[in-house]
């Protein structure tokens, strides 16, 4: 009964938002995005229901699929860089698994699909967001600072040294929202996991402890994924002779 009420309320809100958004010319987009979100989340719920009865291997397979889609999204954001797809996929996967596995190793969660899939998806989703922002900014920084990058190259510096400041700026810019969120955690907003646990009747201290563990993992995942992605994408901006490619800003 509860789910029927919640879904009806969602449909009502999507329609209402889309109708209101028409005056900004984005009514159709809101309707489409809302419908997609509803269908996708119901599909996910069905998949998790099936996964409850399957071995853990299937849960990890679902996470791999999520990471593949996340990798593709980041790859598209990067302007489809050479080797960008495997690099984005591997960066997101490694960072997410690195922070997901300890939750089960130290016993915060039991190794069950109901914990693995949602926690993994939170880490993957955030790794994707941070990586997309980071690669977009990194590319922009290299384009805007072409003169500086080429000054380094002209002195005989390797490309990694020439773009070091751009890489740092790319990661920093992508992490600013996460840093701000972390600073305001519990003051301005109560994050999703804690809200969900509280609504489910959990003890507030337990909910807060798990939330902060997940929150710091989200931050670390984003930082590691974007760091790996940017580091291994650097070669895509240069030719084999360590020349900045001509499409990276106007040649001087």
């Amino acid at each position: 009964m509860l789910e029927v009420l919640a879904i009806t309320f969602t449909v009502f809100l999507v329609i209402l938002s889309a109708a209101y958004a028409r005056r900004f010319g984005i009514g159709k987009e809101i309707l489409l995005a809302g419908t997609r979100a509803l269908v996708q989340i119901l599909m996910l719920a069905s998949i998790i229901l099936i996964l409850f009865r399957k071995p853990l291997f299937w849960s990890f397979l679902v996470l791999m699929m999520m990471a593949a889609i996340a990798g593709h999204t980041t790859y598209s954001r990067s302007g489809k860089l050479e080797m960008g797809l495997p690099v984005a996929f591997v960066s997101i996967t490694i960072a997410s698994l690195l922070l997901l596995i300890p939750f089960f190793l130290v016993g915060i969660f039991p190794p069950e699909a109901r914990y693995i899939v949602p926690t993994g998806s939170i880490l993957i989703g955030n790794a994707m967001n941070v990586s997309s922002l980071a690669i977009d900014r990194y590319k922009g920084e290299i384009k805007n600072r072409r003169a500086e990058v080429e000054t380094y190259l002209a002195l005989g510096a390797r490309p990694e040294i020439a773009v070091k400041a751009c890489l740092k700026q790319g990661i920093l810019s992508a992490l600013i929202p996460s840093i701000d969120n972390m600073k305001n955690l519990g003051i301005v907003w109560i994050p999703g996991v804690m809200t969900g646990m509280l609504l489910g009747g959990a003890d507030p201290m337990e909910a807060a402890s798990i939330q902060i563990a997940i929150f710091t993992s989200i931050f670390a995942t984003g930082m590691i994924a974007s760091g790996l992605l940017l580091h291994f994408s650097t070669d895509s901006f240069f030719t084999k002779a360590a020349q900045l490619k001509e499409d990276m800003g106007q040649e001087l």
């Binding site: 002209a154 002195l155 360590a242 040649e251 001087l252």
Partner: protein, 222 residues
């Protein structure tokens, strides 16, 4: 007999320019030939967009020639590791870029990178950078001072060839003439081979050396 230091044979290069959102291919250099002897000063003049900067960029492989061959001491530059080639062929750009940090940090960059034995004091003295400026923030310097830092930083690599891409065009007349004097003094002192790009006739006359003009993708005597 003079030793040929740098030679360009039949070098061509086209670039793509964006015109009304369309990429248009423009032939910049066409079968260009040039021979430069060791320790020689060559000034290259030409109208804006004639390819002067592109020509310099091909010599230290910041860009790649479409065809032809460039020889350094008789060896194809493509046979050198690009980073090592750029250490040997220094370049000073039109608009000086200083790196984050102090003047000293900037000057020490090449020395740290390549393990050279040039002292900071020698570099700053030779390029007219006052000692009390060494610990100043490089980003806060005037354009003329920044250009001196760029020249000193390039010299820190102990290059055998120096490519100068209109190094005084962003300076006022007094600063420009000081930099000219500085570069000419360094060329004699260090027996440097210099390719100096300028768009000013008067400057080319002041500098002296062999004067060439880049026109229709080729070099002619001015």
């Amino acid at each position: 007999m003079n030793q040929v230091h740098l030679e360009l044979k039949n070098v061509s290069k086209a670039v793509f320019r964006r015109v009304n959102n369309t990429r248009v291919r423009t032939q910049i250099l066409s079968s260009l030939d040039l021979k430069v002897n060791k320790g020689e000063l060559v000034t290259i003049m030409g109208a804006s967009g004639s390819g002067k900067s592109t020509l310099l960029r091909l010599v230290n492989r910041l860009s790649e020639a479409d065809s032809g061959i460039i020889l350094l001491n008789g060896n194809d530059i493509r046979s050198h590791v690009p980073m090592e080639l750029r250490r040997r062929i220094g370049m000073v750009f039109q608009v000086p870029v200083t790196f984050k940090g102090s003047v000293r940090d900037n000057l020490v960059f090449g020395i740290k990178l390549w393990g050279g034995n040039t002292g900071i004091e020698t570099l700053s003295r030779d390029t007219g950078i006052p000692e009390d400026l060494l610990d100043a923030d490089a980003g806060q310097l005037s354009t003329g001072e920044k250009q001196r830092v760029s020249i000193a930083r390039a010299l820190g690599n102990q290059p055998e060839i120096l490519l100068l891409d209109e190094p005084t065009s962003s300076l006022d007349a007094v600063s420009a003439q000081r930099i000219e004097m500085l570069l000419l003094g360094l060329q004699k002192e260090r027996d440097l081979t210099i390719l100096w790009v300028t768009h000013e006739n008067e400057q080319a006359e002041r500098i002296g050396g062999r004067r060439l003009i880049l026109r229709d993708g080729r070099l002619d005597h001015a």
